[in-house]
Assembly symmetry: C2
DNA sequence: AATTGTTAGTAGCAATTTGCTACTTGCTAT
DNA sequence: ATAGCAAGTAGCAAATTGCTACTAACAATT
């Protein structure tokens, strides 16, 4: 049997297969809190409960593309920091059938969230206290928060949560929220000095000293 | 329609589904090198080439269980450090059909590898130079190495690569291989001091000063 | 015009960690 | 004895982190 023959005869429907979905944890920072987008379920199961937005993986799209599609279809967003998180495979995680969920997380500055989506964000702290979240999505959110918490210190993901132009007090606040602890101003600035570029601009309108506006270097 | 009715009528075969497999990156350290288990493919596709051991995910097993099964069926190993790595979903990663692969990596001390498996390990450095590895498995191996390299500094995974009883020069060597750089003896010992317990035993048989034997604390 | 309140931003030092060199210890083989 | 060799320790310099206190620049109030 040649390879060609083999491939022609291969019956890919021979075995029963699980379904594969992508679920998206879309994080932002608002009101000095880490928040996540939740959608209300319109169908069984968990009708009326809140869940992460998700899509089934189509045969002709990669996982990354599924995640991007979810991001666009469910939140109207493009060109956002997006990274695979973990794949969940418990047998009973969906009562309909066996569904394996590849979770992704995305980070978006509050300023980029469309008006239509504003209402759908909820603080992670609160969500983790609740027990009425659909599926295993609360666990996914917790896991996502842990991932960011780890990565913030050795990557630049914090910049994904801030607009193109930002002040250092803003940026520091992002770091503090993600890490869950205060940082020292002077040390923080030394640390990130090589990642930022000052602009000529200063903030205005506040009733105290204005802050210099920076951009990410490169 | 009640939830029960809905679930009864739900047709889970309505859509075409990808297959889901688990591929295993089994790392060990031998000859002062990071090595990986590869199996020779006996079937199309990539017949004769080397690949990571893998299994299809069965409907009645979780992903972790699939990974453990692969570990046992393909390497005869039980109770090994095992962690999910990443899920690979390129459209053409398998020429037979759409297969989504959930990769796991495992860490095992060289001393625990059964005789029958000894021959199947190959140095990661070499593998990454080659271009005759089946599927996208070379990329998976590279990704696995990156993951360990990151985790070694803020977790205890290095202990998974060493027997229950070990010497500090042994352990330090493991860290050095994983990190890809030399460490300072005295500093290394300060760092891990709270993670280890000395035994009464010393090594013997060497023609120089014997080394104290330790165990992991807890 | 000076004072107060508030946040932005800088100085500087103590404590800890890391980088590095040199030493001492305990074994075997000459 | 002593030479060779790896195990293990001492200790200091350099860099990083923890922390306090300062100065700078604005608006609002006196």
């Amino acid at each position: 049997m040649t390879e060609e023959e083999f491939l022609k005869n291969y019956d890919s429907t021979e075995f029963q297969k699980p379904s594969v979905a992508v679920d998206l944890v879309l994080f932002t920072i608002r009101n000095e809190q880490l928040q996540v987008l939740l959608t209300e379920r319109k169908q069984y199961p968990f009708i009326g409960k809140q869940a992460l937005p998700g899509v089934f993986v189509q045969m002709e799209e990669t996982l990354d593309e599924s995640a991007q599609r979810a991001l666009y279809q469910k939140a109207g967003l493009h060109d956002i920091y997006l990274e695979q998180l973990y794949t969940w495979g418990a047998l009973d995680r969906d009562p309909r059938m066996r569904i394996i969920s590849v979770s992704y997380y995305a980070l978006v500055p509050d300023s980029r969230i469309p008006d239509s989506e504003q209402e759908k964000f909820f603080p992670v702290e609160e969500i983790l206290q609740r027990n009425d979240i659909a599926f295993d999505h609360r666990e996914i959110i917790r896991y996502g928060r842990e991932r960011i918490r780890n990565k913030v210190s050795y990557t630049d993901i914090a910049f994904s949560l801030v607009p193109e132009e930002f002040t250092l007090p803003q940026l520091q606040k992002i770091y503090e929220i993600l890490l869950g602890q205060k940082l020292y101003k002077a040390n923080f600035r030394k640390k990130i000095a090589d990642k930022i570029q000052p602009t000529e601009k200063l903030t205005s309108g506040s009733k105290h000293r204005p802050s210099r506006i920076y951009r990410k270097k490169d």
